[in-house]
Symmetry: C2
Subunit: 367 residues, 2 copies
């Protein structure tokens, strides 16, 4: 095997693919990245059996071939090569990387032993714009559960219904729901995708590339995302989300409109104090023409910031885990945020003005 | 106590002073920073008994007073206040910080309990340009010993002799020696200053402020650095450096001249491989018109880079801990570096062309 390529192309491919290299590989080959040079393309694969990624970059192949090399070390040497172009070759179980007079060589592993990423056999599929999918992930994935006690909540639930798609994520104390329109009409599909796969995918999508589409194929246990020269295969999480409609409050007694940026800055400021407290709690007092955001610790002190707001309905004092609030104001894209509340024990609902496609629910902390 | 000041002034003062706040304070007050507002000045002090720092910033005092507050938390709130100006006041054991509608308050400690930084009573002192002192520290301090088994080697040895000063640092496997001329003539002084104090001082000196002087006062056990509104008091390390002149080779059988930047880049590249090896070792082959720099690991692979060099004398193959080489080429200020060697078991000497004021010695690794 021998080929030359741009350092930037290979670096980008490795940064993406490395996410599917096992952190604690069961066998050495699972710490590896599979390379296959043929014609004008290099195929780069990684597979940890939960996620498998294939990506392709343009290369100049002098001698076709395939090999497997330690992902971490290959990435590090490629990134630190002095020149913009690299020549890479394999001979007698040594992969050589040459660039601007620098030479590195890495022991290789046996290519046929590598568990190649498989395409699921299915005819169920749908298409969505890459940037639309990116936004759906960005605005929900942070709400997944961190602990694995109920695996289904460590993923985002995809729901396709007619020409609509929605993604839902919840850890049972908060919930994020984002929807979008599809260009075609499909059957009803529901499946749960691991958050880790979605975070990797989100990083790979260029938010400016607004005319690009990703095809999603899926079977009962696997799905694949295909776009450009990228192919991501992921296991699906078994299980179903319980009906979450019932946790979305249908009415409210207090309705608040705040400037998103100002509200976010104030919550982040007060979080400096709340993080010193046991439950990371921030208190909100919605009254008159503003919100008072505060946090106190008897051993340390306190912090408070007032933010202007338009409030209709009842005055209310309510406390939240500050992360639940900081996370949502970071993904609200509109200048203003709407907060709807009932009482200090009931969940708050965050939405964007004139947009039904995004709902975030946060359960308060009982103080 | 009540005063107002610029956020940037107070942030800068706290960043510097916080270095003298104890990491593991024996009593709560040692985690504190002492503040004293009077007239147009705020005095800020921290003291961990090894190093004590006093600095002053311009403020507008409305009510004079003194207090002590948690250093870490005060720094964090000051840094995150929304406006460029702050109003700070103390009442009933609460320090309030107000800025742009944000309010934070921190419990205070009893000011008289704070161990204030003391000036040593001595008439022994000398003056040196701040930027000259900064360079002397920068080019030696990285060579101090990391382990505390022989405390004297965890500091830099200052030697004043007539109108000359030199700083020496060694961990017994390498040694850095930097010298400079003073503007006056002094008696012979020798003392050892903890590296930690010097690193903090170095950060505080503006390398562009070339007309500024620092006064160094010292007694048997303490010394102080005084310049601008800064006063740093440090314990001295007991003990003496053994005579180090004898480890500086007086002759060489191989003399090498390399381009500093190119050599540095090559050594850093090969270090990607050497750090995977047990002793972090890099091999240098000085021969013909160049240096071959390489590192190999039987389990992983190898890396090699050639650099042009002018070599006179014997050809030589020699190995070093890569850090010993990377560290010195990062502080060599000249375009070229001179390396003088004898055999593969003898120390190498690094110098700058036409400059007797800097010598670095590195002991090779026996392979």
């Amino acid at each position: 095997m021998k080929f030359s390529c741009y350092k930037s192309d290979l670096t980008e491919a490795l940064t993406f693919v490395i996410r599917a290299v096992a952190v604690k590989p069961m066998t050495p080959i699972l710490a590896g990245i599979y390379l296959k040079a043929e014609g004008s393309m290099l195929e780069v694969q990684a597979n940890n059996f939960s996620t498998g990624i294939i990506t392709r970059i343009p290369v100049n192949t002098e001698e076709a071939g395939e090999t497997v090399v330690s992902g971490k070390r290959f990435q590090e040497f490629v990134r630190n090569m002095p020149d913009d172009t690299l020549t890479i070759s394999e001979e007698e179980n040594l992969l050589s990387i040459d660039s601007g007079g620098a030479h590195a060589e890495l022991l290789t592993m046996n290519a046929p032993d590598f568990p190649k990423v498989k395409t699921p056999e299915t005819d169920r599929s749908f298409k969505i714009k890459t940037t639309v999918l990116r936004d759906l992930i960005r605005r929900t994935v942070f709400s997944v559960a961190k602990d694995e006690s109920r695996p289904v909540f460590t993923g985002c639930c995809f729901e396709v219904h007619g020409d609509k798609i929605s993604l839902v994520a919840t850890n049972t104390h908060r919930l994020a729901l984002a929807g979008a329109k599809l260009n075609d009409v499909y059957d009803d599909y529901t499946f749960v995708v691991p958050a880790e796969t979605l975070r990797g995918l989100m990083m790979r999508i260029d938010p400016k590339d607004v005319e690009n589409y990703v095809t999603i194929n899926f079977s009962t246990r696997y799905l694949t995302f295909t776009f450009d020269n990228v192919f991501v295969n992921s296991r699906l999480i078994e299980g179903m989300f319980p009906p979450y409609d019932r946790v979305i409050p249908s009415s409210s007694t207090t309705r608040v409109k705040v400037k998103t940026a100002e509200f976010k800055e104030a919550v982040e400021f007060v979080s400096l104090m709340s993080k010193e407290t046991e439950y990371n709690t921030v208190k909100f007092i919605f009254a008159d023409a503003g919100v008072e955001i505060s946090s106190n610790s008897p051993e340390i002190g306190g912090a408070v910031k007032n933010v202007e707001a338009r409030i209709s309905g009842e005055e209310l004092e309510i406390s939240f885990n500050v992360d639940y609030i900081v996370d949502v104001v970071r993904v609200i894209d509109t200048e203003e945020t709407i907060i709807e509340l009932n009482d200090r024990y009931s969940p708050a609902k965050f939405t964007e003005p004139d947009n039904d496609d995004y709902i975030y629910i946060a359960t308060p902390v009982r103080t």
